[in-house]
């Protein structure tokens, strides 16, 4: 081979997708908690000190559930996790159910013009284990680049939540995932991955659905009517457990 080409290939920032050697994990990532996903990620997990972009068209498809093992881990390590401009209220009982320590959580809400600055500060702080950022507007390439540089200064795992049409734009992020829902599964497509292959498609079952203890709905109106009668008899105001039992009996 041409010696100058050889030299070029030695550079760390040049990689060949066919090069299986590079795919070997160096364990630098933070485990996602889903082995099916870890298998496809460089470093066997979420990249540290680099941007991870999550492209999704709509909230409520399991995007947070994907992160809960990581966020629970961050809480255990007594690190901060900063949520910048979340679209809804992070619901404390659900966070606890997922094992996320509320003490570790810091929520930042402010005017749109301050958010990027706040995110950059969080990225540059050694205290943060994870930063979750929902930009108010579509960030420009220069802004993304700024965040990527800031992320490189520390070892936090950084997630940037972007809406559906962002997939078409280029981004300096180290990892880009497109998330969508397929019935009871979360579908993940790797759009881009630094140092490794992209284009893989992974399906993850939605955890929460498995843990559910509530009865399954069969024919809503009939059952609720009979339960209503039952409840009225007991005159219960709030008794989920008893309620469940009574439903089980009915079934």
């Amino acid at each position: 081979m041409n010696p100058s080409l050889q030299q070029l290939l030695q550079r760390p920032d040049v990689w060949r997708s066919r090069d299986r050697r590079l795919l070997a994990s160096d364990g630098s990532g933070h485990a996602t908690g889903f082995s099916a996903l870890d298998r496809h990620l460089y470093g066997s997990g979420w990249p540290r000190g680099a941007l991870t972009e999550l492209v999704l068209a709509q909230s409520g498809i399991g995007e947070l559930e994907l992160l809960t093992p990581l966020l629970a881990d961050i809480g255990r390590q007594q690190l901060l996790q900063v949520w910048i401009n979340p679209p809804f209220i992070p619901y404390a009982p659900a966070l606890l159910q997922n094992g996320i320590a509320l003490d570790s959580l810091l929520i930042v809400r402010s005017e749109p013009r301050h958010l990027l600055w706040a995110c950059e500060q969080a990225l540059r702080s050694a205290a943060c284990g994870a930063v979750l950022y929902w930009p108010a507007a579509q960030p420009s390439y220069a802004e993304l680049r700024k965040l990527q540089v800031a992320a490189g200064t520390q070892r936090a795992v950084v997630f940037l939540f972007r809406d559906g049409n962002a997939a078409a734009h280029t981004s300096p992020a180290a990892l880009r995932l497109q998330l969508s829902a397929q019935d009871t599964q979360l579908s993940i497509r790797i759009l881009k991955q630094r140092n490794s292959n992209s284009g893989q498609h992974i399906l993850l079952p939605r955890h929460q659905m498995l843990q559910m203890q509530l009865p399954r709905v069969e024919q809503t109106p009939a059952i609720t009517r009979s339960i209503k009668a039952n409840i009225r008899k007991f005159n219960l105001h709030t008794a989920p457990v008893l309620f469940e039992q009574s439903t089980a009996l009915l079934q």
Binding site: Q78, I89, Y91, V108, R109, A127, P215, E244
Partner: protein, 541 residues
Amino acid sequence: MSSDKIFSQRDSLWLGLHFTQLALDVFDTGDNAQPIAVIEQRYVHCANRDNLEPGLALATAHALYPDLRALERQPERERELLHNLAYWAYQFTPGVVIGNNNTLLLEIGSCRRLYRGIKNLLKKLRAALAQRKQQCAFGLAHTPKAAWLLAQYGCEPALSIDKLHADKLDRHLLQRQLAELPIDLLEADADTHLALKQMGLSTLGALHDIPLAALGKRFGDFFIQYLQQVHGEWPDPQLFFTPTPRFQQGLVFIDGIAQRQMLLFPMKRLLHSLCDYLRARQLHCHTLLWQLFDAHRVQAEFSIELSRTQNDWHTLLELSRLKLEQVPLTALVLSLALQSEDFFETLPTSQQLFPDENDQREAACALIDKLQARLGNNALQRIAIQESYWPEESWRCCALDIDIVPANRRSALVFATTRRESIHGGSETASMPPTVAANTKADRLATAAQRNFKKEMQGKSFSPRPLWLLPQPQLLQQRDNHPCWPTPLTLLRGPERIGNHWWQKNAEERDYYIARNQRSVVCWIFRDRNTQQWFLHGLFG
């Protein structure tokens, strides 16, 4: 007792200031047109009419003055006011003692030459008190205890002019005054008072005539010592009031400064000297106040509250810069001032060779300070859990004031506040800022709720909750009694009935379901049992 022995310390001179209307002064009463009485347990404590004597029943007071305004006594505020008065008195003499029963004791013997005589000093004090509209009874004596007693009784200072035209305490007059004092004023327990009364003693003079040894047999050494201290025959060391340390410094610019950037240099200089001040005293500061003046007035001021105590000027300058960027500058800044008080003793820390948890806490505090400085205090939030079934009430949002990382600064702060008392002298009682106290209480409740919640979760079953909660339940459209968002929803699990305030009339009951729409978004919806309407309340994110 021989009279020669009585005033052994001729130089020392104490002035007792008894603020008779302090309980009333706490309230901003304006003019005295309306009769006002401060009430303690349904009895008059203090009033602005002479015939409303202390101890009068409230009903009687109302009978005397139908338009009487009765106000509840506020001992905490009284203590605060007395503390402020001690500050004020500090301008007259360095020896100020905060005594019992709304009384200040001023050591004025050492200020004789400064004021060219005691009379001048008293004149100045009277004028200053009149300006403050503070009613005050004086008591002048050679010992603090006697001065206190005379101030309670309200005696004219026993001064006389000697041959050298210098005023001095008239020994004989003072003795007469002391002898006239009713025995009730003495600081002794109820038994002693009763015994003295049963002995037929009513004045201090009568008590003085009895030999000390006989009194000692009856009342013990402690009482004897007290009497001797009144007469100056026994040492009576006092704990002097020390004003809180406070840093204030300013710079004046001859040409004025119009640009923010230019202000950073003088700011740096002031912060430098603040940090020097702190380092010399081994203190940390907690808040800073910057004031920018134009030609006439304060043009702008901003304060910086730190999430942990500091004495590093780099950090302080950085935070000041962030705050300054948001301050509108309308005119030339002609001078700049920096104030800081509320200092904390530096906690000894040792440097670690390897980064550890403390470094992370430091970094967390620094991040919080930075974000708060630029975004404001309301931008940062924490969430906590509350013990309630009702979804809206089972969490709460706490504005972050001081504590974010578990059990780090909380302990540091409590430590610092307990230490602070020792810095400021023993008399300071309000050591913990109210927000901190409230916060820790709320924290305790929150952690208890969290513990209970975890216990509940360890039980076999719990109903899933959505990670995203909508700020307000969102009304869903219905088609044939079936919820749509925007297409008909598939109900997966449920119902789970949750109700609130069942004992009240406006009780609500909701049947919660987990549902999925056609785009596979899993959501948390409920049907209101009263109105039969469907609402979207959360998303399983």
